[in-house]
Each structure stands twice: as structure tokens, then as C-alpha cells.
């Protein structure tokens, strides 16, 4: 994939994440802040389908943005064909693992499995 396409995704995910994380933080203000973080209320978030979907989107956006950022840092740190290949594929694999693990958490909490 061309670097400009990757960077467009990078900037797009950053903007999307800022917007959705802002919504996520503002939701804490819908009630007393400490109450909103209580175990019961957190679970309620997962049971609400639109909110669970938003959390899933935040997870994807932050994973893509974060691991691409890490990839860029590591590419600037050291160069070499095999090293760069390892970093590129390693970042995609780590991103996929984190999204899978996070999605599993959202799904299980949504289904009431804790």
C-alpha cells in the first residue's frame, strides 16, 4: 500500500478517534462522574447496542492509529529490508490481536458473560 494512503488512514483515524472519544468522555458527565465508572453502570454501557458499537469503532480507530504510529517510529529508528518487513507485518498482527481481544471483551460484556 502506498504511504500516502496509509497516512490518509492515519489522519482519518485520528480525527475519528478524537470525535468519538469526546462523545465517550461527555457520556461520563450524564451522571455523577464516579457513579458513571461503577461496575454496574459500566456494564450498562456494553448492554446498550449503539454505545457498544461506538466502543468497538473507538477500539478499531485507536488500534489502527496507534500501531501505525508505532510502525513509523520503529521505521525511523532503524532501517533494513528484513527489519522493515518484520515491523510492517508485526504491526498489522499486533493490531489484529488487540482488536480481536477488545472485541471479545465488548461482545462478552454485551452478552452478560463476565
Amino acid at each position: 500500500m502506498r504511504e500516502s494512503i496509509i497516512m490518509k488512514i492515519h489522519y482519518g483515524t485520528a480525527l475519528g478517534a478524537v470525535a468519538l472519544v469526546a462523545v465517550h468522555i461527555l457520556m461520563r458527565l450524564s451522571q455523577n462522574f464516579s457513579d458513571s465508572l461503577s461496575y454496574k453502570n459500566v456494564l450498562v454501557n456494553y448492554h446498550l447496542l449503539p454505545y457498544a458499537l461506538m466502543l468497538e469503532v473507538i477500539l478499531v480507530l485507536l488500534s489502527v492509529h496507534g500501531f501505525n504510529g508505532l510502525r513509523v517510529i520503529l521505521l525511523e529508528l532503524k532501517q533494513g529490508r528484513s527489519y522493515e518487513r518484520a515491523i510492517n507485518y508485526g504491526s498489522i498482527a499486533a493490531m489484529a490481536v488487540l482488536i480481536a481481544y477488545g472485541s471479545r471483551t465488548i461482545l462478552m460484556a454485551g452478552m452478560g458473560v463476565s
Binding site: 497516512m7 521505521l75 529508528l77
Partner: protein, 260 residues
């Protein structure tokens, strides 16, 4: 023959207003001495140099070569900031030695070192091979099949506003100071660098040029234009007033779908 006696007081006044020959000041010039085939770290040698207010750093180094130690390695040519040969780190900042007066540094000790981010040949001379290769890779010429002027045709007409888009970037003398100041280049040896990217923009922005897509493809690689963090130090050190940091942002605009 009649003579006119100048009154004594007037004579004294004339003497006081006459331009006085300034006494040469002495500064300490610290020169980094390194031969990469024998050592990894440079050692500094100090020389006491008499300087006038117009003495440049290059003149001070040449004074050392002529009078104190002829083995100091330095590259220079035009002595008027046109050839881009005498780039070096002067008191920590990349500058042209021929374009930097000792008086403007305002320091009794002047330290000269080879530029960062370039392989050192010896002492103050660095290897420009990679920079020139990168410059060449950017296709630094107008790409246009119809550039040949034939009978019945005329040369391309360019309006002042068309020229304005790239003129400052054509002042680049390839001295390498921007690459030396670039923080990305210090860690990413494969990075194209501000010099190459500014030249890619210079020709891409030229309305006579048809090689935009070719150049954008070259700079749009993993060690290309996206690795610039916009520190702006390239523009800060350029002795010719070129703004490579701006060229990089404008070139990014093309890749993101803005611009021409």
C-alpha cells in the same frame, strides 16, 4: 611659494576624526580533527587567529592552513555563498563558512565541526554522494515532451505568478545544511531529506513540467515525504532563504489531493 599654516587645534581635530586602523583581535579557533579510518570520535585542536571585523570563518580556517597546520581538510571554492561547498557546523549550527563572519558570532571561541548526517571524509570535509544521488532521483529537470523549440513554435510562456510558486526553491545551492539540521535524517538514513524534497516540489510546481506523477510516486515511499515531522530546522539554517519545510507541506498537499 606661499604656505598656509593650519592652526594647531584644527590639526588635532583632523587627526581625531581620521579613520583609525583597528587592531586585529585574536580569537581561538577549535577545529574538529578526525580521520574515520583511524578514529571514531573527533579531537579538537585549538589555534589562535588574528581577526578583523570582516574576517569570515573560512578565512580563519585558511589562515590555519597557510600558517599553522596545512593538514586541516576543508572543502571550499567560490567564497561567496554560491557553490555550497563550505558547509560545516560553526558553534553548533550548520552554516556556510564563507558566509559567516567571526564578528557576528560574538564569541572569543569558534568551534568548527563537520556537518551532521553526512559521512565524514576527513576533518571538516563530508561526503555528498548520497545527497547528490537523492537529488538526481528527484528528476531535477523539467519533464516535457514538447520542450524542444522547433521552427514555428515558441518557448513556454510563464506568468510572474507561475514563477512565484517555485522561484525561491530554485535558489538551492545544494550545500547540505538543511539535511545536516534535519532531526529525522539523524535517525533515518534512508530518508530523502529536505534538500531532495524541496527540489521535488520546485519542479512539480513548475507549470512547464509534466512529471508530477513520476515525482510524487518517488517521494510517496516509506522513507519519503511522510517521515518529515515539520521541525522546520531546514528552513532555519538555509543560507539562501529557501524554505524546504514549506515545500514539503505543499508537496504533501498534492499527495492528499489539494493543490494543482
Amino acid at each position: 611659494m606661499a604656505t598656509v599654516e593650519v592652526p594647531k587645534e584644527e590639526k588635532d581635530a583632523h587627526a581625531a576624526s581620521a579613520p583609525q586602523q583597528s587592531e586585529p583581535k585574536t580569537i581561538t579557533l577549535r577545529i574538529a580533527r578526525i580521520n574515520p579510518s583511524e578514529q571514531h570520535e573527533p579531537k579538537f585542536e585549538e589555534f589562535k587567529i588574528p581577526v578583523q571585523k570582516w574576517t569570515t570563518v573560512l578565512e580563519a580556517i585558511l589562515f590555519v592552513k597557510q600558517n599553522l597546520d596545512h593538514s586541516v581538510a576543508v572543502r571550499y571554492s567560490c567564497r561567496q555563498a554560491s557553490c555550497g561547498s563550505c558547509g560545516m557546523k560553526i558553534n553548533g549550527k550548520p552554516r556556510l563558512a564563507c558566509y559567516t563572519k567571526i564578528s557576528e558570532l560574538d564569541s572569543p571561541v569558534i568551534t568548527v565541526e563537520p556537518m551532521n548526517n553526512f559521512p565524514i571524509i576527513r576533518d571538516l570535509a563530508v561526503d555528498f554522494k548520497q545527497m547528490f544521488a537523492t537529488h538526481k532521483r528527484m528528476k531535477p529537470f523539467v519533464i516535457n515532451e514538447e520542450s524542444e523549440v522547433k521552427p514555428g513554435t515558441k518557448e513556454f510562456v510563464q506568468k510572474p505568478e507561475d514563477l512565484e510558486k517555485f522561484l525561491q526553491f530554485s535558489y538551492c545551492i545544494k550545500c547540505g545544511l538543511c539535511n545536516s539540521a534535519c532531526p529525522t535524517m539523524s535517525t533515518d538514513k534512508s530518508f530523502i531529506g529536505p534538500q531532495g524534497l524541496a527540489q521535488a516540489y520546485r519542479y512539480t510546481a513548475d507549470n512547464r513540467d509534466k512529471g508530477k506523477n513520476e515525482r510524487l510516486k518517488i517521494v510517496d515511499e516509506s522513507h519519503g515525504i511522510w517521515r518529515c515531522h515539520f521541525a522546520g530546522s531546514c528552513s532555519y539554517v538555509c543560507p539562501k532563504g529557501v524554505d524546504p519545510a514549506m515545500a514539503i507541506q505543499l508537496l504533501r498537499g498534492y499527495l492528499l489531493g489539494f493543490g494543482k
